[in-house]
């Protein structure tokens, strides 16, 4: 009987402690983040060690048992490479033209930003962690908020930084938002994530703007924006008119297929001017 009472008291104490921790976390005290960061610093090298030990074995296993997939992927990559080589020729011609026009108009170049190439080292140690981890951190100049791209396509931002690794918040995350500009009209709206595998949603577009499916949307780069201009975010899918508010909402396909990403670039870019709006939305 005494044993049961003791067990009950211990259980109540542990539940109360858990609820206290949950309350602290919800109130954003920062202490739980510090503890997580500290623990992350300790376990991250162990994760790296396991990656180093098991990586080759995993590659061999995949090569042996997913051979058909590897061959198919190789063929697809060859096709894409040929297409990229062709595009590069066009792009270099367009870049020359752009630079000449920029020089004529006296515009400042904004795409020659310093960047850090990074490898996605882990997707998740458990089934309940919706972030990616890269192998570059504060030692390499990475800071929280830095945009993360693949090619010229935005895939997210740095959400947490450690010495030699960082965590990313992907643009499909429901808590992610970014200011975007339509390529044809120049109309500006706010794109936000809807979850992995879902289209993004763009709101606050004027009702009278013509939107063409397939039209490119890039970061707006407005003053104080958290992202530099002209990073491709996605392409327009379907626009819906909101008659009452006189605005349109738009669904948008992300420019980068996140399932095929293994290397990313972190732009060492910080907004020059801050405004009052939340940073994600700018």
């Amino acid at each position: 009987m005494a044993q049961r009472g003791r067990t009950r008291r211990i259980l109540i104490l542990l539940v109360a402690t858990s609820i206290t921790l949950l309350t602290l976390d919800f109130r954003g005290s920062g202490s739980t983040d510090s503890v997580r960061d500290g623990a992350g610093g300790i376990v991250a090298p162990v994760g790296g060690f396991f990656d180093w030990v098991l990586g080759p074995a995993e590659a061999t296993w995949n090569g042996a048992f997913d051979y058909d997939d590897v061959v198919a992927e190789n063929e697809e990559l060859k096709t894409r490479l040929a297409s990229i080589v062709a595009n590069e020729l066009i792009i270099s011609a367009l870049e020359r033209e752009r630079d000449e026009l920029r020089e004529m108009l006296g515009l400042e170049a904004h795409m020659d930003l310093p960047l850090v190439a990074a490898r996605i080292v882990r997707t998740s140690p458990t089934n309940f962690k919706p972030t990616w981890e890269i192998d570059r951190g504060s030692d390499h100049g990475v800071k929280v908020g830095h945009p993360v791209i693949v090619g010229n396509g935005l895939i997210g931002r740095v959400s947490k930084v450690r010495a030699s690794s960082s965590e990313l918040q992907l643009l499909v995350d429901p808590n992610f938002s970014v200011g975007v500009r339509l390529s044809r009209s120049g109309e500006v709206g706010i794109a936000s994530g809807n979850g992995r595998g879902q289209l993004l949603e763009v709101g606050l577009l004027a009702g009278d703007v013509a939107i063409v499916p397939g039209e490119t949307l890039s970061t707006s780069g407005l003053e104080g924006s958290s992202y530099p201009p002209d990073l491709v975010v996605g392409t327009a899918v379907v626009a819906t008119l909101n008659v009452n508010e006189g605005t349109q909402s738009l669904t948008m396909a992300p420019a980068v297929n996140l399932d095929q990403v293994s290397l990313v670039a972190v732009l060492l870019w910080e907004p020059s001017v801050l405004s009052d709006s939340p940073p994600e939305a700018r």
Binding site: S18, L21, T32, R36, V46, F50, L54, S124, F128, P174
Partner: protein, 167 residues
């Protein structure tokens, strides 16, 4: 080595294994939740009181490496460890099959509790995950790993009656 030393070794090792090894041994994109298994086996071998404590510590370890609200895994772990520990007397008379069935059903119940609480707390990203597949896969994997985990936990909590021994 003293029991506290052994249980510390077990808990620290499982944290590293969960963080480092679990992502490499996925089945259909789903990795095992080994720390949940530790919580359950702590209850099976050590009883309700030790189960609650081991479950709480395992939960805290899980909270350190995931981004769900801090304390949610600790809450789930201590409740799961304690609940399984309530059946402790039954385990001393049952066999491996009983452990296995308990691990599978308790894993499913604990994960369902965790997911439900997380969704109530606004963790909407969970809706994007294949939750049923996660619960089923993790429960089965935990069940299969139970005999090894029970043996290891018994080593860590030396003095607990052998599996199948009379109460």
């Amino acid at each position: 080595m003293s029991n506290p030393g052994r249980i510390v070794i077990l808990m620290v090792t499982m944290l590293f294994v969960q963080y480092g090894l679990a992502p490499h041994i996925q089945s259909g994109g789903i990795s095992p939740d080994l720390l949940l298994l530790v919580a359950l086996v702590g209850g099976m071998v050590g009883g309700a009181e030790r189960g609650a404590i081991i479950g709480f510590v395992a939960g805290i370890e899980m909270d350190l490496i995931v981004l769900t609200p801090f304390g949610l895994w600790a809450l789930t772990g201590c409740l799961a460890g304690c609940a399984v520990g309530q059946l402790h007397g039954t385990f001393t008379q049952g066999g491996v099959i009983l452990h296995l069935i308990t691990a599978v059903s308790a894993s499913a119940a604990a994960l369902t509790l965790f997911i439900s609480l997380a969704l109530l707390m606004g963790q909407d990203f969970l809706n994007e995950l294949p939750l049923v597949r996660i619960v089923v896969t993790v429960s089965i994997v935990n069940g299969l790993l139970t005999p090894i985990a029970v043996r290891w936990m018994r080593w860590a909590l030396e003095g607990i009656p052998e599996l199948g021994a009379s109460a």
